[in-house]
Symmetry: C2
Subunit: 482 residues, 2 copies
């Protein structure tokens, strides 16, 4: 029998904290007088007390070590249960959403996906817009802690390649998670404030700057306007691109940077690969745009950079409807979404380091073909890759590809067309936000989908955010027997 | 400097044989009097003499052993050069095709892809229809020899897992290839004759039965009618399904069966997996069809079985336009094409055994997560998988997925729409035949595509047929420096 008390304790505490953060949108609404004050007051009270009582009820458990089972259950539990409470304001507030819509929006927020079922964002009370931003911001920092502490511990997805260099000297898992969360918070808050100040300096309104900073640094992509970043001017796109890139870099490097290692960021193999991919794709896209449309080259470059960075980092802001850019760029955008940012950031999808490890494996194979008697070991970052890391990365990649297929078929079963189904599956599993086509493309949204499709997508976002294996490992008989 | 004489010798001989086979369609046309006799006479003369002269000029080379470089060049060279000659009748014959169209058709034939640029097949001279069938039939037996002799030798794609059980005691590569080709020919011819007699018995005309037998056993899929198998009745679909399945099983098992091992076929892990997948998918598709349309259950079962088998075996016959079956089944058909048949057959795509190996790898990882201190080695067919095989299979899978992306982007660059581009890339690389959408879907054909797209697809068919790595390994500097 699994002792769920430590899990209940941690989730209870997090739910209680979520309840407290609802006081921020409540405060905004009390200023605005848009009648959402009591909505957030009720939500906050309910959420805080349920969370606090759960934590109290479970406080007798062991609060230091966690078994493997408990760690899996905790990681999944957080992303299943917190959106339940995050959804309350959407149900009882001005959005008047059904449970399906509200849970979809909250899951899309906390997984930093950024697909939305709401339209008329510009007219929505600011309290609700801020709440969407806060959900993404909290989800973002949560996932960095999971990536840095839980995934290496669970030995899934190949994240254990980063284990040795990080923090495993810091003791048992929960104290370590707390300590890392503290260190990361400083950087995360610092980046968010810097981003907000930049947006302000470039002329964005204070509220918009605040919400967009929250959803930029979390690579979440919720906006306060139906037009997303299309509502803002040219310089703002460059600024957003820069901050989306910063948010998709490995946060452990920032910790090292703060500790005095000036080269930490740019000597990172992932970072180099990531910047190289962005540069190449932006160039290709700019050339294609200049040739296809009577764009000024600066506009072509800017729109290319912004939208490529937005998709590859998994942020999912749109500044234009790139469905109108023709099939070449549409196809590129589909596959760019399957690349993703760096591990240990808020970005999702397959991620740069996994491709680097897979290509190292391929290079080793090609060398072995040419030199049949040599022993060739694939390397990453100069160090030989263990079978465990290789096996984990392969499992992740195969699961990711197969999952896109299975989720696409499931979505098609709800009668979504082929393009909506396949791009919907990809955008949910990679936590990007927009898909392709007229319905869920950059100019559309998820409001018109049927309820079963929304639930399938919610599950997809969860599975993708937790790097697949965290969820899939729990589906085995072995897991529950142990 | 690479000694190209052994390569020239073998390719020359094969070209000469190809020239001789042109006498068959010539004979047919002399009976029909459709004016293609001189077309095939000229093509045959030209092809035979160029081939024979090349072989003569190169006969001074070593004809037993081949270096690794030579083996790579030979395998690629055969599938690049033979279609050049196979294209001649299409250029000077009644089809009056451009070089691009003729080469596309011949490449589509010899790679057993079966995508066609010709319309009005029903009215075409029988000589040309027979020639299309012959190209696929020759390509089919060629690829079995490559899969059984060359790929394990080159240690690419994980085919080396089948090496120990096969024929490596038979000496050097070219004599071995000849010996295996002899053994396989008996089975291949036997299956073709059986298939033809079955079609005849079920009421197909003699000529149609002959050509369709050639393109069924090679899982090629060229038909003599624009309506493909839609032109034939119910029982014929069951018969074709059975022979397409037989053609997608590993031919080495038939050799063992002939040698008295009665259980060889059904104890094969691949065969069991393949039949299980077909059974499951047919059931799902039948249920979906019965629910969606007022089908009689027998019709739903029959059309499901035929079209699932046609796509999974990579044959690519169509009996109905399954684009009209709704998004659920369309999406299933897209992903089914990425599964493929068994290794060592004429089927292409990723193939059952690679998925089995990848899933064995994933199972081992999941077990290792639950039991962190156990040593868990992935197994296939009861035997532990070597790192070499695993690395090869991973390389193949990653290359396949990335190639679909790269070819789709390249096709989109020629302004094909997203669905045509992505399904065109998949159908070429997996050598299936039809894609999705109105243009290249089961009811369409490839005639209206632009020339660059046809060349990209031709390269895709070649790369896919040679299991990617055979072509990609030659793109490295290391290959040419050795
Ligand atoms: K996002
Ligand atoms: K085919």
């Amino acid at each position: 029998m699994i002792d769920i008390r430590p899990i209940g304790y941690v989730i209870g505490l997090l739910v209680a904290v979520l309840g407290l953060t609802m006081l921020l949108p409540m405060a905004i609404d009390l200023i605005d007088g848009r009648g959402q004050g009591h909505v957030f007051a009720i939500s906050a009270l309910l959420t805080f007390f349920v969370g606090a009582l759960t934590a109290l009820a479970c406080q007798t458990g062991n609060r230091e070590g966690l078994t493997l089972q408990q760690t899996f259950l905790l990681a999944s539990g957080v992303w299943i249960i917190l959106p339940l409470f995050g959804a309350i304001p959407f149900m009882i507030g001005a959005t008047d959403a059904s449970f399906t819509d509200a849970y979809f929006e909250a899951m899309s927020g906390m997984t930093t996906t950024g697909s939305t079922v709401f339209t008329g964002l510009d007219a929505l009370p600011r309290g609700l817009l801020l709440w969407r931003g806060i959900l993404q911001w909290l989800g973002g920092i949560g996932i960095i802690v999971v990536a840095m502490v839980f995934l290496p511990e669970l030995r899934v997805g190949g994240m254990q390649v980063f284990k040795s260099e990080a923090f495993e000297t810091m003791g048992k898992i929960l104290p370590r998670a707390t300590a890392i969360a503290g260190q990361i918070s400083v950087i995360y808050v610092g980046l968010t404030v810097a981003c907000m100040l930049t947006y302000l300096a470039l002329g964005m309104g204070a509220f918009d700057a605040c919400v967009h900073a929250l959803t930029t640094i979390s690579t979440g992509g919720f906006s306060t306007h139906d037009a997303s970043f299309g509502a803002f001017s040219g310089k703002m796109e460059y600024a957003a691109s820069a901050y989306m890139i910063l948010a998709a870099l490995p946060f452990v490097r920032y910790v090292q940077l703060l500790n005095g290692n000036r080269r930490a960021v740019f000597q990172d193999t992932q970072v180099r690969g990531f910047l190289w991919v962005i540069g190449t794709l932006t160039l290709v896209s700019s050339v294609a745009l200049v040739m296809l449309f009577p764009h000024h080259w600066e506009q072509a470059l800017r729109e290319s950079l912004f939208n490529i960075v937005s998709v590859i980092s998994g942020t999912g802001y749109a500044s234009v409807d790139y469905m109108k850019w023709g099939p070449f760029l549409v196809t590129i955008f589909f596959f760019v979404g399957l690349i993703g940012g760096c591990a240990g950031s808020t970005a999702c999808s397959v991620k740069i380091f996994r491709y680097q490890i897979l290509f190292a494996c391929i290079r080793a194979r090609i060398r072995a073909i040419h030199a049949p008697h040599a022993v060739v070991v694939p390397r990453y970052d100069g160090r030989p890759l263990s079978e465990e890391v290789l096996g984990s990365v392969i499992s992740f990649f195969v699961f990711f590809v197969v999952s896109v297929g299975v989720f696409a078929v499931a979505l098609a079963l709800t009668r979504l067309d082929f393009v909506t189904a396949i791009s919907g599956a990809a955008t949910a599993l990679a936590n990007i936000g927009p898909g392709l086509g007229d319905i869920i493309g950059p100019a559309g949204n998820f409001s018109t989908l049927n309820d079963p499709a929304k639930w399938i997508l919610s599950v997809g976002m969860l599975v993708g955010r937790l790097e697949l294996m965290v969820v899939y490992a729990m589906l085995t008989v072995r897991f529950w027997r142990a």
